[in-house]
Each structure stands twice: as C-alpha cells, then as structure tokens.
Subunit: 110 residues, 2 copies
Amino acid sequence: MNCCEKNNQSFDEEQLARFAKAMGHPIRITILQFLASMDSCYFGDINNELPIAKATVSQHLKELKEAGLIQGEIETPKVKYCINRENWEKAQAYFDAFFGQIIEKKICCD
Amino acid sequence: MNCCEKNNQSFDEEQLARFAKAMGHPIRITILQFLASMDSCYFGDINNELPIAKATVSQHLKELKEAGLIQGEIETPKVKYCINRENWEKAQAYFDAFFGQIIEKKICCD
DNA sequence: AATATTGTTCGTAGTTTTGCGAACAACAAA
DNA sequence: TTTGTTGTTCGCAAAACTACGAACAATATT
C-alpha cells in the first residue's frame, strides 16, 4: 500500500459523524478532556467543573454515553464516569483515517 | 516530554468543537470525503453525488466553509470547491492532540 | 431581448438541541 | 420515619438544524 492508496475507507461514515456530533459542543469537549485526564470520577466532580445546571450536565453526559465515548456506572449513591477506552480508540482510528485520506498531491502524485 | 506529559492542551477547545460540529452530519462527512479524494470540483459534481435537494447541499457546503474545512471559489458560472488544506491540517492536529491526551495508565503511569 | 446554466438565498415547516428548575428515585443516616 | 445526598428525568421554552421548492442573481448563448 503506497501513499496514494492508503486509508481506503477504513471507517464507517455514520459512526464517524456520530462521534463528531457528540464532540460538537464545547461543554462536551471539556467533559471529555476532564475525564481523559484521570482514571474516573463522579458526576459531582464533573458538575463542579462546569458553570451550568446539573440537569444540563446530566444531559451532555447522556449524549456522550449514547455516542459511546464515555461510560457510567452506579456506585450508590454516586455515579462514576470514565472514558470508554475501546470506543475512544475506535474514534481515534476513525478520525485518523478520515484526515489521512486526503490526496497528497505534492508528495506522491505529481 | 515523556509519555505522561504529552499533548498539553495543544488545541483550542472551542475550535475543536466547531470542527467536530461541522463533521457531525453524515452528508457533510460524505462531502468532505469526496473533496478529499480529488484536488477540487464544482458544486454540480458534489450535488450529483448526493440524494438531496441542491438547496440543502448548498447549505451544508456553507457550514463546512464557515467551519473552515473547505473553501469555495467562483468560476463563473460554476463554483469550485476544495478542501481548505491549512485548516484540514489544523483540525487533524487538534483531533490528534485531543485523542492523544488520555492518560495511558498501563503504559507509563503504574 | 429572450433563454439557458449554475448555484445561492428566501421563506416555510418540522425536528432536534440546549438549558433550566422542579420533581422524582434510590439509598444512607439521624 | 424523617431528613440528606446524589443524580436522573420531566416539562417547558428558546434557539438551532435539516430539508425543500421557489425565487433570485450572474453570466453566456441564441
């Protein structure tokens, strides 16, 4: 596989769009960054980082969870959240393949 | 810089969210892929690839342009679109830094 | 001047997103 | 049993998104 035929659609368009959509809000980027900076934490910790109502935080967490980027686990009476590593890596690979698929004319196709 | 302190916030959260949001629709992913597969093309070519009304295609192109991922240029009577390479690479770097910032506990922090 | 080509913009409709406070659920503690 | 703690869900409102056809703009062609 030379540089002109790399990354032949090594991702699912729908899934990539879903990941991207979940990342398409500054608050959710902040949440993901926060979670990525540690092993795991509770809802309250995340809520404390953000200047918005807890109902809204919960909503954003729900969307990130549905997109598969994070996961939540009940530890009564708290809820522990963390990055979903498997899907995180999948997303990483998808975005990588997506951005890598551009034709590199100057390098290999002149 | 060892593996535990890499990628210290080497991206702008707001801008990353803007890129992600623009990519958060399957049609727009398709458009970006199509444009990435060639040097440039006209609106009509893009429109032909998609099963939606031209007004909607135009709208999606506008959003991608506003997010900085593509650029358009009038070549009367056509409009030529192409990937905005500068911002494409910026987006690539941002996503890369974002996904790379997760703590790699098993590898370096035990 | 009338006609054709290529896209954008406008106006509209329906859906989704974002955000909030209030109410609720599940459990622990007094 | 009452009270507290921790988060989720509900109901609402405002805004943004998605999609379409029709109208329009800019230019070429007949």
